[in-house]
């Protein structure tokens, strides 16, 4: 905390000239050369003339800085020192200089009448001044606190917490937060992790539960949120100052689809020490078919095809389907069942020489068979050809719980499908009040890719737009991030009530979206350190610069070093690794015996079921589901009788 500004004396004086007048939104002031003022410093002006019996107080943030000397031309200096820069040190007198700052008005008290800023002394803002200047006093009142700390404002001797208003961050007044910053500094990920921790610590209990769903779209970024990270003394001091526990998230569950072979999950969080809260994400026919349009090429699938997909969804899946064209009744529960149904239907139609079935042309049926059949291939690992879904805990989301969905190692189609389905389900369940929490923050990075301004109108982009525009009414909050804000769909970033900016690229800052920022603010943005952000929030009349602590969670690359991923070593080891946490008796020998006897696909399907049901007796679970098979033979035993003679072609030059 800082000493009262008056005790330290003024650090400047407002000046207003005909060429540089004060306005209700801007003023200028000069300071001593050593005054602790810079771009982003918040100041208070004490006016000297009362208006309506009250001395106005004006709060401003420095947005521009000028300095000049009494030199008329740079040539004067060159001439003065005969062109020898070193001679400057011998000059006995230093030229007169001025530091002139421009400040944008944050708030005027009284707010009416709104007048130009009058001449007066300028003081460094105290912590209380910062609170008033940013209108935080309105939502930090006892009994009605909705403040969420975003960081600490630091300038000169002042150190003041900066709070966002939960009503404008999560809703219902406004919602959504967007982060922009260049890649490589980890600012975006760190800021999101910090903000989530802050939100979980300070979100008012009376507003209902809140959870987060984070899509991990690259590397190991979000895979160690439950592990402690390295913090410095300054970080810990900031955590204490802002009332946020300096500890990792207490409740995190990770979801990842399987790899193409379905033996191991497609994630970098595969270290055995961290498997307790890692779960497979695997969807069956029913789940995928709801979002088939995500995966189908719109140019390829017309209205007729849509009609057939709807028919299958409504009348075929999970129903007993009987028809004259079919050789037998079908109950379609999996992609394998669906393929069998298609095969049977087409065979029946060909046999009857029919070119349509229930108004669907045979060519349409063939096309949809082909497209749907491909889904299982294109999203192998996510889509279970057989078996049931392993999914997020719908209807049972936990308060202050983070659900990380790792899509970093998936093909685009699979990523799209996951985004679409998870977001749709969240929206659907929040709308019905069935999710288990009232608010969910959805974090999506790389918005340049998923919601590009000039990109194709994809299903995912439409979903993101939908959250941005209507999510706050449902409690669905979008926390999005990207490198180039200018290249993201305008309605998505435009609907984000809170915008955070890390270090920015100069080229990006030159785009029209940043014209509202003063040149000096842009310069500061392009030189921000790690841990610094510029914050725009509905209550703040001007952007404010803050520092935030390093997140209290392990960084992705540190996590990979501490918990190296294990390689996918095949079926037997996969069975042991995944099932041993259910039942410690599971052994490699048992897995090898099963692998020798049974079909891999079948074993993996039973493993998925065992994980889903969390069975305590794995061997019994498998035994109950496995079909009868031949008894295990000793693979090392030599066959009885003579070995067959290997035939070698006569012309084989290497034979013999």
């Amino acid at each position: 905390m800082s000493a009262p500004a008056e005790a330290m004396g003024p650090l400047g004086r407002v000046v207003a000239t005909e060429k540089r007048p004060s306005t209700p939104h801007e003023f200028h002031f000069w300071t001593a050369l050593d005054a602790p003022v810079g771009i982003g410093t918040i100041v208070r002006v004490a006016a000297t003339h009362a208006v309506s019996g009250q001395l106005p107080v004006v709060y401003g943030v420095v947005t521009g800085a000028l300095a000049w000397s009494d030199m008329a031309s740079p040539l004067d200096d060159v001439l003065g020192f005969d062109g020898v820069p070193g001679a400057v040190a011998q000059a006995p007198t230093r030229r007169a200089e001025i530091r002139l700052y421009t400040a944008a008005v944050l708030r005027q008290l009284p707010e009416e009448p709104l007048q130009p800023v009058s001449l007066g002394e300028v003081f460094e803002a105290t912590a209380d001044d910062v609170s008033i200047a940013l209108r935080m006093d309105g939502y930090l009142r006892e009994g009605a606190r909705t403040g969420i700390p975003i960081g600490v404002y630091r300038a000169g001797g002042t150190r003041a917490p900066v709070w966002l208003d939960a009503d404008f961050l999560v809703g219902p007044e406004a919602a959504h937060v967007n982060l922009t910053g260049i890649s490589g500094l980890a600012t975006k990920t760190s800021a999101v992790e910090w903000l989530m921790g802050s939100l979980f610590a300070h979100f008012p209990q009376d507003k209902g539960g809140i959870a987060a769903v984070c899509f991990n779209v690259k590397g190991p970024d979000l895979l160690f949120l439950d592990q402690p990270g390295e913090l410095g003394d300054d970080d810990r001091a900031m955590y204490a100052e802002l009332g946020v526990p300096a500890e990792p998230f207490q409740h995190v569950t990770y979801f990842a689809p399987y790899g193409p072979k379905r033996t191991a999950l497609a994630t970098l969080r595969t270290n055995e020490a961290l498997q307790d809260n890692v779960q497979p994400l695997s969807w069956g026919l029913k789940e995928v078919l709801q979002f088939a349009e995500v995966l189908l090429n719109r140019d390829d699938v017309d209205a007729k095809a849509d009609a057939l997909i709807d028919f299958i969804r409504e009348r075929v899946v999970e129903q007993v389907m009987e028809d004259r064209a079919l050789s037998r009744p079908h109950t379609v529960r999996s992609f394998a069942d669906l393929e069998a149904w298609f095969k049977d239907l087409l065979k029946g139609l060909e046999a009857a020489n029919q070119d349509s079935w229930r108004t669907h042309h045979i060519a349409t049926i063939r096309k949809i068979r082909n497209r749907l059949g491909n889904i299982a291939l294109r999203c192998a690992g996510l889509v279970a050809d057989e078996g049931e879904a392993a999914d997020l805990p719908w209807n049972a989301f936990g308060d202050r719980h983070v659900y990380v969905v790792d899509v970093a190692n998936l093909e685009d189609d699979a990523q799209d499908l996951i985004f679409a389905r998870v977001i749709s389900k969240l929206r659907e369940q929040l709308e019905r009040g069935e999710l288990g929490v009232k608010q969910v923050v959805v974090f999506v990075d790389e918005l340049n890719r998923y919601a590009a301004a000039d990109g194709p109108d994809t299903y995912v982009r439409r979903m993101l737009l939908d959250i941005a525009e209507r999510g706050r009414y449902l409690g669905l909050v979008l926390a999005s991030a990207q490198q180039f804000r200018s290249q993201v769909h305008r309605r998505i970033v435009g609907n984000a009530a809170t915008s955070l900016y890390g270090r920015m690229d100069g080229e990006e800052l030159a785009t029209p979206g940043y014209q509202v920022l003063a040149p000096a603010i842009k310069t500061r943005l392009s030189t921000l350190d790690k841990g610094q952000l510029m914050v725009r929030h509905p209550h703040f009349a001007q952007p404010v610069f803050v520092r935030f602590p390093r997140p209290a969670v392990m960084r992705g690359r540190d996590g990979i070093a501490a918990f190296p991923p294990v390689a996918d070593a095949g079926l037997e080891e996969a069975l042991v690794r995944t099932l041993r946490r259910l039942d410690a008796r599971v052994s490699l020998q048992w897995a090898q015996d099963l692998a020798a006897l049974h079909d891999e696909k079948e074993l993996l399907a039973i493993r998925d079921a065992a994980l889903r049901d969390r069975t305590p007796d794995v061997a019994a679970f498998f035994a109950a589901r496995l079909r009868r098979a031949a008894p295990v033979r000793d693979a090392s035993a030599k066959p009885k009788g003579p070995r067959p003679v290997r035939l070698v072609p006569d012309d084989d030059p290497y034979g013999g």
């Binding site: 004067d76 000059a91 230093r94």
Partner: protein, 322 residues
């Protein structure tokens, strides 16, 4: 109150005085150089330093730099006229001592700022009512009745008399500050112009630097060596004597080479008290102090070839004040 505000107040006050007319803004300037109307002249002064008239190269400066700089300014305007031809002049005079700190930055010496605002008019020609109205604005009315009395009531003579009195008052302010520095200051004081008054002319650590040369203290065969001075060279020390002032030592110093610039370019004349120290040694020391102030340049002042930056700084301070 700055000079412009004072002038506006004076013009308003004159509007209420019977027979007085407030002057319109603009008009011919009052302030002209003191010697603007004087003819240039050569004067022979007695030599104080031994040797011949050959230029003396100033040795490198050793020891302290000049600590403080004194300058004064004035601003005069016609506030109005009484009747048709008696000018009432409002003048503001000020002087300042600027002290240089260890970081090379200049600050006003706490005791080093004086200012005087007054009306200048021939009191005998003003009515009591007019004098009362003028004094009601807060400033004295200084008498500028020419010595020749009513016989010299030419309007230009009245202007000249007012200006002379203003200059006298300004010099008085400068002298007061120089005397104060002599008593309370610490270190060398550079005075812009001749040494003001007797105390300053006897003080060991004061010197005056004169930039204009309407009177040159050299003639005949001493002129050529003077004009031949090169940067960093000084002339022989001579004495300035007058019935009205204390005898002081003086010499010329070339600050900057004048090739292609004329004989007076970069040339200053220095005045200093005659002390027990050898005049040549003292002249070398003070010349070294003056040469050390050649940087930074005093541009954009047109007299930058002979003006020190701290003196320009003092002028800027004073003009801002007035």
């Amino acid at each position: 109150m700055n000079h412009s505000a004072a002038l506006a107040a004076a013009r308003r006050a004159l509007g209420a005085v019977p027979g007085a007319v407030a002057a319109q803004a603009g008009g011919a300037p009052l302030d002209l150089p003191r010697d603007a109307g004087d003819a240039p002249r050569l004067d022979r002064a007695p030599i104080l330093e031994g040797g011949d008239d050959a230029p003396r190269t100033v040795p490198p400066l050793r020891g302290f730099l000049t600590r403080a700089f004194l300058d004064g300014v004035q601003r005069t305007d016609r506030a109005g006229y009484l009747g048709a031809a008696v000018p009432i002049v409002l003048a503001s005079c000020a002087a300042v001592v600027r002290v240089r700190d260890g970081d090379g930055r200049l600050h006003t010496w706490p005791q080093g700022m004086v200012r005087r605002d007054a009306y200048y008019a021939p009191r005998a020609l003003l009515s009591n009512e007019a004098i009362a109205a003028l004094e009601a604005t807060g400033f004295d009315v200084r008498d500028t009745m020419p010595d020749a009395g009513r016989a010299a009531l030419h309007p230009l003579s009245l202007d000249r008399a007012a200006l002379d009195q203003v200059r006298t008052d300004r010099a008085q302010l400068e002298r007061a500050l120089a005397d104060r520095w002599t008593r309370e200051g610490d270190g060398w004081l550079w005075i812009d112009g001749p040494l003001p008054g007797d105390d300053a002319s006897r003080a060991e650590h004061l010197f005056g630097v004169v930039k204009s040369h309407r009177t040159l203290y050299a003639d005949g065969d001493r002129l050529e060596p003077l004009f031949a001075l090169r940067a960093g060279e000084r002339s022989r020390v001579f004495a300035l004597e007058a019935a009205t002032r204390v005898r002081v030592a003086s010499w010329y110093l070339r600050l900057r080479d004048n090739v292609g610039q004329g004989p007076l370019y970069g040339l200053v004349r220095i005045e200093a008290a005659i002390t027990a120290e050898a005049v040549g040694t003292r002249a070398d020391q003070i010349s070294g102090l003056v040469l050390a102030e050649r940087q930074p340049l005093a541009r954009p002042d047109p007299r930058w070839d002979v003006m020190a930056y701290p003196i320009r700084d003092a002028e800027v301070v004073l003009k801002a004040l007035l």
